[in-house]
Amino acid sequence: MKSLAELQAIKDKMKDKVVLREGTGEIRVVVGMATCGIAAGARPVLNAFVEGVNKENLSEKVTVSQTGCIGICQYEPVVEVFEAGKEKVTYVKMNAEKAAEIIESHLKNGNVVEKYTIGANQ
């Protein structure tokens, strides 16, 4: 492994930030990561969300997590977006490029990208 001293520096830098991060997370992005999702390409989708959310400084309001099989394997990779007081949005047949669009439009500006939702793909 790399030098653990670097990790110590990360720890010192993050102490205050972590306190801030807890208790927020108004938007939850959940990526299906069962066999079906993984085989269909969910890993790069998850990584695109994790990276994008952090690069766009959205990590205080958006949390990204993994889940098992959502039950619609033919639409994998599937991503669900939960937001308090709003209806769940289900994005289907995802890839990293679509994830970038969703971060910009939906997570940043609140506009659902209809063309990638399950409703537009049935």
Partner: protein, 185 residues
């Protein structure tokens, strides 16, 4: 699966679901072979369950009646002339010492060998998905070794910084990438 690293991501997920607090993923390569061993201290399986997990129509999940994770890995190993095995001790038989060990052996020079692919992404994805688990990942090839032990990382970070913090995950990623830079040389 297009890469064995995706099978690894999938199969290690079974250990997480089995409630394991410690999961070891050990890759050992020679010029001819690659062995992938998963070892966990999860709830384990009965003899009957172990016999049925390679059957695609057996699964613990409730959304549908097929489970393809283990059959995929077994097929990927056997199509190279390799082998696959699972040993498990269920918690109810052995409360102090239970868990599952899954081994897949591949012949790398066989035309049907699936490339390993992006193992680094698999390891970071696993840690992000289950940051409270102790993960030990090793990959050896002769004298060369890549190693990631989250217990050591936790030793430095303490309880203040969770392992799934973006900065920590990026550190893990770059640490692994650095080690892989000289791995096959």
């Amino acid at each position: 699966m297009k890469e064995l690293s995706l099978n690894i991501l999938d199969i290690a997920g079974n250990s997480v679901k089995a409630g394991a607090t410690r999961i070891i993923i050990a890759l050992t390569e020679t010029d001819e072979t690659l062995s992938i061993v998963f070892e966990d201290n999860g709830c384990g399986m009965t003899k009957e369950q172990v016999e049925s997990v390679t059957d695609p129509f057996f699964t613990t999940r409730t959304t549908r009646n097929v489970g393809l994770g283990i059959p995929f890995l077994k097929l990927a190993a056997e199509q190279t002339g390799g082998s696959f095995s699972i040993e498990s001790t269920p918690e109810k038989d052995s409360p102090g010492n239970h868990g599952t060990k899954t081994t897949a052996l591949f012949y790398k020079n066989n035309i049907d060998f699936t490339p390993l692919g992006d193992v680094v992404s698999t390891v970071t994805t696993l840690i992000m998905g289950s940051p409270a688990t102790d993960w030990l990942f090793t990959h050896t090839y002769g004298e060369k070794e890549v190693r990631m032990d989250t217990a050591e990382i936790r030793g430095v970070l303490g309880d203040d910084v969770p392992l799934d913090s973006y900065e920590v995950i990026e550190w893990i990623r770059s640490s692994l990438e650095e080690e892989y830079d000289s791995f096959y040389k």
